[in-house]
Amino acid sequence: MSNKAQILTIIFGLSLVFITSCNRDSEGCTDSLATNYDTNADDDDGSCEYDIITPDEYVYEDADGNSTVSYSGQHIRLNMLSEMVTVMKTANTEGTVVDGNTLISMYGHDGYTWDDVENLDMNSPDNTKQLRNKTAGGDPTIIAQFETWMTELGDASTLTSSQTGSAGVAGVVVSTSNPSKQYLQNAEGQEWTQLIEKGLMGACFYYNISSVYLAPAKMDVDNSEAVDPANGKYYTTMEHHWDEAYGYFTTAPDYPVNGTDRFWGKYADGREDPLGSATKIVEAFRLGRAAISADIMAVRDQQITIINQEMEKMAGGTAIHYLNDAIDSFGDDALRNHTLSEAKAFIMALPYGAETSVDFNKSEEILALLGEDYYNVTTANILAARDELATILGLTQYADEL
């Protein structure tokens, strides 16, 4: 009896109760789109209710049944990063050399031939998509940081046949508790692959979700007509921008049934317990998109706020999770360095949120508590960073559990 759609009723905030007010305005819902629109009200009390049909999956069609969803560009970029990660991880095996210039050519989609496992025509001359120019809005300093890491990874990989990683020495470090786990790390124990992968999840994917596509410049746009129906573009400009944000989060329409295998979709799923991240984020994406199609901007804006808040909690919660892991494997160089590198990259990602409570300075401050040398960190350092982060993000009650 259940179908693909359910009706959600949105109740806007609970009214501000009756603040003893001098004027005698009549209070009520003043939005004519609301189901409880009160024509007599001239002072909105936040009680508006809307009926919006939200699908169970990220699937939207126009009145003629044409799909209005498209995030093919994001799909390609996620696959590009997946391929980069695969290549970078080969350097975790001693003696396997990775060319830093190859990584840079992948990053800039400049002369690299992709495996393109999903047949997205990634090698077509028409594919101009790249990760590089979408990194932090093209910020040259940030881009240079990533390319430096790629070069360093490549250089270090040429040494791994002759030297093992340890304090002060770059190389592959093998876990003592689980020898199947080994990672190429720098002389201070930082792992380039993690800094690059999770770093780009922040500077590229998260930045584009939160600070680009869900930000006013891409949201205050036309929502009245399809962009180009003759060429299959049945979506409005606003709908399309929303889809692009979604595509940087996950490319699975049925998330979290699928799409939990990589990038933000993976870590949101990882923080489902205890933060409810995957559910909250994907429901906000689906409802916000439905609100756009119903042209109810108040609901859309509320979902933007939810996405921004929950993405931040999820990214910060993931950093806390890895800091806890680092303490658990404190005596195991490979695992401690690995998890600290992951934590670092997630902490570095936080400032890319549009409504972040961790700006670049704050992010640096937290990382300074850890220090740069992961062979010289103490459990007190890690706990200090963890607790500072938890305090800022309001996650103190989950700090041990995450």
């Binding site: 303490i327 062979y375 010289n376 459990t379």
Partner: protein
């Protein structure tokens, strides 16, 4: 459950012909619910009162053990400082050695509580990482700026480092003649005492109450924390480190590694440490402890929890198997001889048989007991990248 409800609904309104099928399905689903493990779901648990279990563990086993361990570090610290004041007095030196043995034995009583306060300070790693790196110790001796606690110091601090300084050949003369060396020994025990005190204090001031209040069985609950640490420490730090690595059974070549025994330099201690390491696992399992007048009290333990499931395979039958295997393991350990570093080389086959007895407990505890209790094994945390 939804499906069952739907079937019942059909049963009421449907035609007779559907009835047998529906009833069968309904009964099958009830049966399925019942058989899917006692304790897996909080709501369908039996009457076993986990709060009593947690109180017993906390008040009668964990906190007293930490108190004892902390007191032993204090005694060792005092002994070492006394020796440092009068470095040519061999009586003072001998007192250090005696206190060292008591401290090492008392450490075995707390090593298994590697969660919460201990885990937050990496107490296991800072206290007992061995083999110790004697080159690093000798480098640290003259270094005024040396500080313990970072990962790079883990294999040259704690009890194994103190073992080396107190028990290596010519230890007394080396300490007597080198103020730096003696001062380093003081630094090592001072650090251990600070860490022991901090963990003990966390338990008595804040964590103990938190611990008792978390009565569920889910991830992060107190039972989950205790039992995951219990299994992890038993598997890795008792079975593997104390015996498996030294006998060589854990390595591909099978070559014994005598230098990997615990308290290598003391020579006469390794087997005693292994024997005493088993006891707290037994105590946590049985819930037993000695009261202040030395009388054995049989408190609530995991055995009572298993027995509460009834006379079934994963109830009292499993409990009997575990109790029998604890006895076998203790008997097997008693056949080992100090110095263990010689024994694993000269009697490798016998040592491997003892290892097999210890290994049998891993299966019973980690697989069967955890499954029966419905507590998830989370300490193998593989997120795949």
């Amino acid at each position: 459950m939804t499906k069952v409800m739907t079937l019942l609904y059909n049963f009421k309104t449907g035609r007779n012909i559907f009835r047998p099928v529906v009833v069968l399905l309904f009964v099958a689903s009830l049966f399925g619910l019942n058989s899917c493990g006692s304790g897996v779901d909080d709501d369908q648990d039996n009457d076993f009162d986990r709060a009593v279990l947690l109180n017993n563990w906390c008040d009668n086993l964990i906190i007293p053990s930490y108190e004892n361990y902390y007191n032993e570090t204090l005694i060792l610290k005092d002994a070492v400082e006394l020796f440092a004041d009068d470095p040519t007095n061999i009586q003072n030196f001998e007192s250090c050695r005696v206190a060292f043995i008591s401290t090492y034995l008392s450490w075995q009583e707390v090593a298994l509580y590697d969660f919460g306060p201990a885990s937050n300070r990496a107490l296991l790693s800072t206290t007992n990482t061995y083999p110790t790196d004697i080159d690093k110790i000798n480098q640290a001796v003259p270094d005024d700026n040396w500080t313990p606690g970072s990962p790079a110091t883990l294999d040259n601090i704690g009890l194994p480092a103190i073992d080396y300084l107190l028990n290596a050949d010519d230890a007394f003369n080396q300490l007597s003649n080198s103020p730096d060396r003696l001062a380093h020994l003081v630094r090592l025990i001072q650090f251990m005492k600070v860490e022991a005190e901090a963990v003990y204090s966390d338990w008595t001031t804040t964590y103990g109450a938190t611990f008792k209040a978390s009565t569920g069985t889910e991830m992060g609950s107190s039972i989950g924390e205790v039992l995951n640490a219990f299994n992890k420490v038993y598997e890795t730090y008792v079975r593997k480190q104390k015996l498996g690595l030294p006998t060589g059974i854990m390595t591909l070549s099978g070559t014994p590694l005598p230098g990997h025994v615990e308290a290598y330099y003391a020579q006469n201690l390794s087997v005693d440490l292994l024997a005493s390491a088993i006891l707290p696992f037994e105590n946590i399992y049985l819930g037993n402890y000695y009261d202040s007048s030395g009388i054995l009290i049989e408190g609530m333990g995991i055995d009572d929890y298993l027995i509460s499931f009834g006379d079934v395979e994963y109830g009292s039958i499993l409990d009997s198997d575990i109790k029998a295997q604890i006895i076998s393991s203790k008997q097997a350990i008693s056949t080992l001889e100090n110095p263990l570093s010689d024994y694993v080389v000269n009697n490798t086959a016998e040592a491997n048989e003892v290892y097999q007895e210890l290994q049998a407990l891993v299966v019973l505890w980690k697989v069967d007991m955890m499954g029966a209790l419905g507590v998830l094994v989370t300490y193998i945390d593989n997120d795949g990248d």
